[in-house]
């Protein structure tokens, strides 16, 4: 079962190689090779998980609560699959959008270390290890976001950095208190302890700290301010990568913690989370509607759609969890794709500002098709992925009598549609306001369009393959809500060890 460690080892090898590579001609193909291998690996792991359901590696041979455990379960496998697909397409995209200067300052090395951290966060079974992977992600993203060194980027970088560092401190403090109370940080062991221990309510102090920490990373409503202040400053390749991977790691951690071991006090937590979900959806959607800079619109949409994922967690039925995760993978693909398209629009029209764009439907029909796929997917039109994801979520919400929450979700998808149509009208449909011939005859190369096409196919496959994915995710959701298999696979014959401290 040593293949479990491969999603960490592979990017690590490439990270070391890329410390020594400074030129674009060798760098770009090698990076694409690396991310291609990782994608193949994640497909292989996903295929394995279809049969095995769960794979466990006790690192260094130390039995579960004492050592670090790596676990790939159904949630991890699907997250690995989608995040490595995104990393691969962004790597292809980076050929034309990352300049020599950025490659010379080790863009690809930090790209690999970011993906290393993301993969690690998805497969770890240890809460403190998750903290370490979060720090790996943070440090590489700090470097990526400030790489161009303009004043805007440094300023956005400072905001991004400070709020995320505060988040890490909250996370660490929560872990310290958790260890004091339970004597373990192994997630399966924690799950076992809270299921037999009547005093599990004492975990609330840690739970609040974790919620704040992951809330900052996932950009939930009152903690989201770093995201729109920083996401529109760096190179568009970096923004697309961040939009696809970073906030979703926070959401993944919320799903993991709040299904596995923060399961007491449900009335309080779920009322609280549903309020947060409502405001996250509405604030993101409304704020996006006043902007005319494409990347800002899309940044606020990232926030708005985090609310839907949280909604899946609030409903907490198997269908709800399945819908939340389905929405998450759909959103990672479609959101990255829209950011990639915004970079292409900028390349053709010379600006991100929707006041000055136009005429792209006539001059670049292929680009228009590539835009309309993720846009309709995000707004929730069949047969794209967003329709089935939203349908599952809304159905589960009504079945479980969350009428307010579900109504807001429906309303917010109108706001999403409005913003997507705004971009469509202003950038594609209408005539260019001031015909600047210099830009409109820019021909887009195949390697610029290819990543969008890959992700667009991803959205379509996710939509047409909905029966398969719903089956897979429903089984996953049942295993998340009743994690006996997870506990047994990780703890082995120490299954009845409930307390470490006398």
């Amino acid at each position: 079962m040593n293949i479990v460690i491969a999603p960490i080892l592979l990017p690590l090898v490439f990270l070391v190689v890329f410390v020594f590579i400074k030129n674009t001609r060798v760098g770009s193909p090698l990076a694409i090779l690396g991310f291609g291998l990782q994608f193949i690996l994640s497909v292989y792991l996903f295929y394995q998980i279809l049969n095995l359901k769960i794979m466990v590696l006790q690192v260094g041979g130390w039995q579960a609560p004492f050592g670090i455990t790596l676990v790939i379960d159904q949630l991890s496998a699907v997250m690995l699959l989608v995040s490595n697909l995104i990393a691969f397409s962004v790597a292809v995209y980076s050929i034309s959008f990352v300049d020599k200067y950025m490659v010379a300052s080790r863009f690809y090395a930090f790209f690999f270390s970011l993906v290393l951290g993301v993969n690690g966060a998805f497969i770890t079974g240890d809460a403190f290890n998750l903290y370490v992977w979060f720090e790996v992600i943070l440090l590489s993203s700090f470097v990526l976001i400030t790489m161009g060194r303009s004043k805007d980027q440094l300023e956005g970088g400072i905001k991004y950095m400070t709020l995320n560092l505060m988040g890490s401190l909250f996370f660490l403090a929560g872990l310290g208190l958790l260890y004091g109370k339970t004597g373990t940080l192994n997630m399966a062991h924690l799950a076992q302890i809270v299921r037999v221990n009547p005093e599990a309510g004492l975990l609330n102090s840690s739970a609040v700290l974790f919620f704040i920490a992951f809330g900052i990373k996932a950009a939930l409503f009152p903690l989201h301010f770093w995201l729109p202040a920083s996401y529109h400053t760096p190179n568009v390749t970096v923004t697309a990568l961040f939009a696809g991977l970073l906030t979703k790691v926070g959401v993944y951690a919320l799903f993991r913690f709040f299904t596995l071991f923060i399961i007491h006090d449900r009335e309080f937590w779920f009322l609280f989370l549903s309020l947060i979900a409502v405001f996250t959806m509405l604030v993101g959607g409304l704020a996006a509607s006043i902007f005319y800079e494409m990347r800002r619109i899309l940044s606020y949409h990232v926030i708005s759609q985090i609310g839907y994922m949280l909604m899946g967690l609030v409903v907490f039925t198997p269908l709800g969890i399945a819908g939340g995760v389905y929405f998450m993978i759909h959103n990672m693909i479609a959101k990255t794709n829209t950011f990639l398209i915004s970079g292409l629009v900028k390349k053709v029209n010379g600006t991100y500002d929707l006041h000055q764009t136009g005429g792209l439907l006539k001059s670049h029909p292929v680009l228009a098709v590539l835009y309309i796929i993720p846009a309709l997917a995000l707004a929730g039109f069949p047969p794209f992925s967003g329709f089935f994801a939203k349908f599952t979520l809304i159905k589960s919400g009504y079945e479980d009598a969350h009428y307010w929450l579900t109504s807001v979700a429906v309303l917010t998808s109108l706001l999403t549609l409005y913003s997507m149509i705004k971009i469509w009208n202003k950038a594609f449909l209408r005539e260019a306001p001031s015909p600047n011939e210099g830009f409109s005859c820019v021909k887009l190369k195949i390697d610029e369009l290819l990543p969008s096409a890959i992700l667009g196919i991803g959205s379509i496959v996710l939509g047409l393959g909905a029966p398969f994915f719903i089956d897979y995710l429903s089984e996953m959701a049942v295993n998340m809500i009743h994690p006996h298999n997870y506990i047994q696979a990780v703890m082995g014959d120490l299954e009845n060890l409930t307390l470490l401290k006398p």
């Binding site: 401190l169 660490l172 260890y179």
Partner: protein
Amino acid sequence: MDVLLAILIGILYSAGAYLVLRRSVVRFIIGLVILSNATNLLIFLSGGLVEGKPAFVDESGYLVFLTDPSPQALILTAIVIGFGIVVFTLALYAKFYKVSGSDDIDDLKQTDTPEA
């Protein structure tokens, strides 16, 4: 000892929070350093203080009235990560100061305003 350490952690947290709320970026960074040290001490304290005993676990996996080594291992990791982050923060600040010539957080408004 526990009470003293708890009071110290409280003082460090409040000092850190005070510094983080200041308008100067340098003070902000010092505040972050103090907050991260307070958090390390918090792990140390909540792991349980035992004086003068070695770390030992018996065969069944139970700690028998001896020092638990893992909080210290956790803190060590956290300190190392904290070092790295402080160094990066200072480097970022130095670069920002070179570009903008300002130490005032109120000057960091450019990326928040709607359409510049």
